[in-house]
């Protein structure tokens, strides 16, 4: 580790030298890494890693051949396939919004991929297919199962998060694979894309055996173009790699809610990534119910940062890994948090917007999907866009769609419905629903289950089929007015979503994925079925053939065959008259 850092430090001015002395355009790139530790109301701890590489180069035009911090695999992908924005998330587990609060960046269970293409791309579907195949190779995930049966083109839910000239939604593709499992094989290539790998900086904490021992694990890659500076004359490309993990401190901490970096990750931080221009650890020490001194963080932080995040004023303890004073006392940094007084679990802060979804009904023929959306804001109403993607084998009856708020029917102001085609594309339902203050909205739709061909079932058909999470996008009004954030100065977790004005913040929530059983044929029977059905057809054919080709004749007395003659001989012996 130390050797590598020394070598890198030596090479750095050498690499920067020719770069600056070369052509007048300096393609500078910068890496910022950050770790946000926030204790959640239910006693768990959420750790969000963000690695942001910003590259002042135009990947679309000009052959870029010298990749430094920006990974070459992704850079070439963006350039070759005409990608404007790429968001890929691999998640295991489900973020419990009601218990844990609003997530900084949530992803649905499984694999989620949504991409905005450049307007210059002529065949978007072909580019999408190539992209998913290449990504499946890079991340060792089965993204090659993304095809037209699980890809949709949303019209309102997914707006570009970076710079955008126009938003023709035909350039957008969205797909979710809810059955995808995330494991070490997906983490390793993700770590390899980091400039320092997992050898220096915050990434040393990312050890697989602890990361997958958690309630929620989500790793994501976001690529988008951003303004190079305030005047926005040039475009830079930003790559954010985020990893969110939620540890259950109760079960791993022997019943106490104290945690430390070592307890969570079985590692401590020793140094910053030498290639990073900024490397910080933020710990959320916001007091709840205005009672300070409830918790104690060791080692004491060098500075404290206050920010308004998601409508709440929060206080963060900041540890700057690049400052020389941090590692004066000890070689490693082990942030510890101790609770002075046990916290009441009754002071759960309900998030303003949260939702749940479930499937009801009995039997294998019909069912009903119900989504409940809660708006707990006391006096403000706001609209929410709901996007549902249902596979084609659950045939939705759109005439049974009902939206009920506070006992009355709630008509959405915008509905976009694209019916499914068997084996070609899924259902897409997008609605803009106004949520009144302090209300629960229930959306129900009935469906019918189809019988599939026996080769279309998964290897364990009685496990069921997954319906991917529905997406809720909303601008939630915030209690406290928020200032515009300058992306370069403020922490990374505040600049995930572009904010349009200070009175509301953008939230994207995902509901639970559903597991639905389909009627199954008997898989052991293909040959038997063919034989029996063909027998029935042959019975018909045989009887009709007989009746059509034969005519009635009077029966001729026959001399008798061999059996009859033998019988007659025996009868003669017995003395009985012959047949």
């Amino acid at each position: 580790g130390g050797m590598l850092a020394a070598v890198l430090l030596l090479l750095l001015p050498l690499a920067a030298g020719p770069g600056r002395a070369g052509a007048g355009r300096a393609q500078r790139d910068a890496l910022r890494e950050e770790l946000l530790l926030s204790p959640l109301p239910a006693g768990d701890v959420a750790a969000t890693f963000q690695f942001r590489t910003r590259w002042d180069a135009d990947l679309q035009r000009g052959a870029v051949s010298h990749y430094r911090l920006f990974p070459k695999a992704l850079g070439r992908l963006v350039a070759a396939l005409g990608v404007r924005e790429l968001h890929l998330a691999l998640t295991q587990g489900f973020w419990r919004t009601r218990a844990w609060g609003q997530p900084p960046l949530q992803a649905p269970a499984g694999a989620e991929l949504w991409v905005w293409f450049q307007p210059t791309v002529t065949d978007v579907d072909k580019a999408w297919k190539e992209l998913s195949n290449i990504l499946s190779g890079i991340f060792c995930a089965s993204l090659n199962f993304i095809d037209s049966t699980n890809t949709v083109t949303p019209t309102a839910s997914f707006k570009p998060l970076g710079l955008a000239n126009g938003t023709d939604h035909r350039l957008l593709r969205y797909a979710v694979l809810p059955r995808e499992v995330v494991c070490t094989e997906n983490l390793t290539p993700w770590k390899k894309l980091l400039p320092c790998g997992s050898k220096a900086g915050l990434a040393v904490l990312l050890k697989a055996e602890r990361l997958f021992h958690s309630s929620y694990h989500s790793q994501a890659v976001h690529i988008r173009p951003v303004c190079r500076d305030a005047s926005c004359l040039a475009v830079s490309w930003e790559l954010r790699q985020t990893l969110t993990v939620v540890f259950d401190t109760f079960s791993s901490g022997q019943g106490k809610k104290d945690w430390s970096l070592f307890k969570m990750f079985s590692r401590t931080l020793t140094d910053a990534c030498p290639l990073a221009s900024q490397s910080k650890v933020y710990v959320d020490i916001s007091p709840k119910n205005k009672e300070k001194e409830l918790l104690e963080v060791t080692p004491p932080p060098a500075s404290v940062h206050e920010a308004i995040v998601q409508g709440d004023k929060r206080t963060y303890a900041v540890y700057d890994l690049l400052s020389p004073s941090l590692f004066n006392t000890s070689r490693s940094l082990n942030v510890q948090l101790k609770w002075k007084r046990p916290q009441d679990s009754s002071e759960l802060l309900t998030p303003i917007l949260h939702a749940q979804r479930y499937v009801s009904g009995y039997g294998l023929q019909t069912g009903e999907i119900s989504t409940l959306i809660y708006n707990t804001h006391p006096y403000r109403a706001f609209p929410v866009i709901l996007l549902e993607t249902v596979p084609w084998y659950l045939r939705l009856y759109v005439h049974t769609l009902t939206i009920i708020t506070k006992g009355k029917e709630n008509k959405p102001s915008y509905i976009h419905y694209q019916p499914a085609q068997d084996r070609r594309r899924p259902h897409l339902l997008e609605m803009l629903i106004q949520l009144p203050a302090n209300s629960v909205t229930k959306i129900t739709i009935q469906f019918e289950r189809a019988l599939l061909k026996w080769t279309e079932y998964t290897p364990d058909p009685n496990h069921g089929f997954y319906v991917s999470s529905s997406v809720l996008s909303a601008l939630v009004p915030s209690v406290i007015a928020m200032k515009d954030v300058d992306v370069e100065q403020s922490p990374l977790f505040t600049s995930l979503f572009p904010s349009s004005d200070g009175s509301s913040y953008f939230v994207r929530l995902y509901t639970e994925p559903l597991l639905v059983n389909l009627p199954t044929p008997d898989f052991s029977m293909p040959y038997n079925v063919i034989c029996l059905t063909c027998t029935v057809v042959a019975v018909c054919y045989g009887s009709f053939y007989n009746l059509l080709t034969r005519t009635f004749h009077v029966e001729e007395p026959s001399r008798g065959g061999l059996a009859k003659r033998l019988a007659n001989i025996i009868r003669k012996f017995r003395g009985v008259p012959p047949l």
Partner: protein, 350 residues
């Protein structure tokens, strides 16, 4: 409403048909075509008086008709169109029958096979003999075919103008022919294609579809003297082997059974077949519930009942066919058959 219309159409059709049958019978008796001792086989006006009413009642009171009416299925409309087609054919109006046949074919592809019996009936009515060399035969056939095809083309073009694209053709007819949806029904196709190897699915789809259309020509050759019976057999074959059969189709051909109630003495297995059909109809919802809702049965149970029900239907049809052919033989050769040496003889099919 459509059920009532169907019943009325069938009533009028059978009334007319009875008149035709009686006339023909009289003609044949006068021509001495019948053997002397078949007096009890000949149909009397007395027993034929109530047949139209029985046909209408058979259709209206059939539990299958009631079920398809309760389910609000479009099968009732299909049945109405076919019933009007039969009425028009028996009345002798070639134009109307072509129009109704085009409507029926437009809805589902299979009534195309009813072209042959209708043609045969109309030729018979016009007293045109059916010989392959006869010019008037070909002329009439061309006329009728032209009427039929023109009305079909008109209807399809109307749909095209309504929709402004030809997309409906693969959606409607392609769907009927290629059987993509495998929802369980009372036919044989769904489980077969659910368990089919991918490699052979096209081959078996073709075989199954040909199976429906295949019986037309041989039946036409055999039954050219009796086109209405041919029509009955054809409707029955369509309703058994079509790609998505429903109980409404079965109700339609069962409505015709009273017309041939005089065949009763020649039916061989009628008791067992009617028991099979009734028991299978009762078991269908039971096993469906067990498979889908209770989860204690397999799809195999429902499939087995499908098989049995279809075998019952097939044997019923072939039984009626056998009885019909046997009666014809008796009519021409006499009821009491004797062999050369004077003993009682038996009839076999050879």
């Amino acid at each position: 409403i459509t059920d009532v219309l169907t019943a009325v159409a069938l009533y009028l059709a059978i009334q007319d048909f009875n008149k035709v049958v009686f006339k023909k019978q009289k003609l044949l008796i006068e021509l001495d075509k019948y053997a002397p001792d078949v007096a009890e086989l000949v149909q009397t006006p007395m027993e034929m008086h109530y047949i139209p009413l029985k046909v209408a009642l058979f259709y209206l009171l059939n539990p299958y008709t009631v079920m398809s009416c309760v389910a609000k299925s479009t099968c009732a409309i299909n049945n109405t169109v076919i019933a009007f087609f039969i009425l028009a054919t028996i009345k002798g109006s070639a134009f109307l029958s072509a129009v109704f046949l085009a409507l029926a074919t437009y809805q589902s592809l299979y009534p195309l096979t009813l072209f042959a019996p209708a043609l045969l009936y109309l030729l018979q009515r016009q007293f045109i003999p059916i010989k392959l060399r006869s010019k008037s035969f070909w002329l009439y056939m061309m006329q009728y075919a032209a009427l039929y095809l023109c009305s079909l083309v008109v209807i399809i073009c109307l749909s095209f103008f309504l929709l402004n694209s030809w997309d409906f053709i693969p959606s409607v007819y392609g769907f009927i022919l290629s059987v993509p949806d495998l929802t369980p029904n009372i036919g044989l196709f769904w489980y077969f294609f659910a368990e089919m190897f991918e490699h052979f699915s096209l081959f078996f789809v073709c075989v199954f579809q040909i199976n429906v259309f295949f019986y037309t020509i041989p039946l036409a050759i055999k039954l050219k003297e009796h086109p209405v019976f041919f029509m009955f057999i054809q409707i029955a074959i369509i309703s058994i082997f079509k790609s998505y059969p429903t109980v409404g189709d079965i109700a339609l051909y069962m409505a015709f059974l009273p017309v041939w109630s005089h065949l009763y003495r020649f039916l061989r297995n009628i008791f067992i077949l009617s028991c099979v059909l009734i028991v299978c109809s009762l078991l269908f919802p039971v096993l469906w519930h067990l498979w889908i809702y209770a989860g204690s049965a397999n799809s195999n149970f429902y499939y087995a009942i499908t098989l049995t029900f279809n075998i019952g239907q097939i044997l019923l049809i072939s039984d009626y066919f056998y009885a019909f052919l046997r009666r014809e033989y008796y009519l021409t050769h006499g009821l009491h058959l004797t062999r050369q040496d004077g003993t009682e003889a038996m009839l076999v099919l050879k």
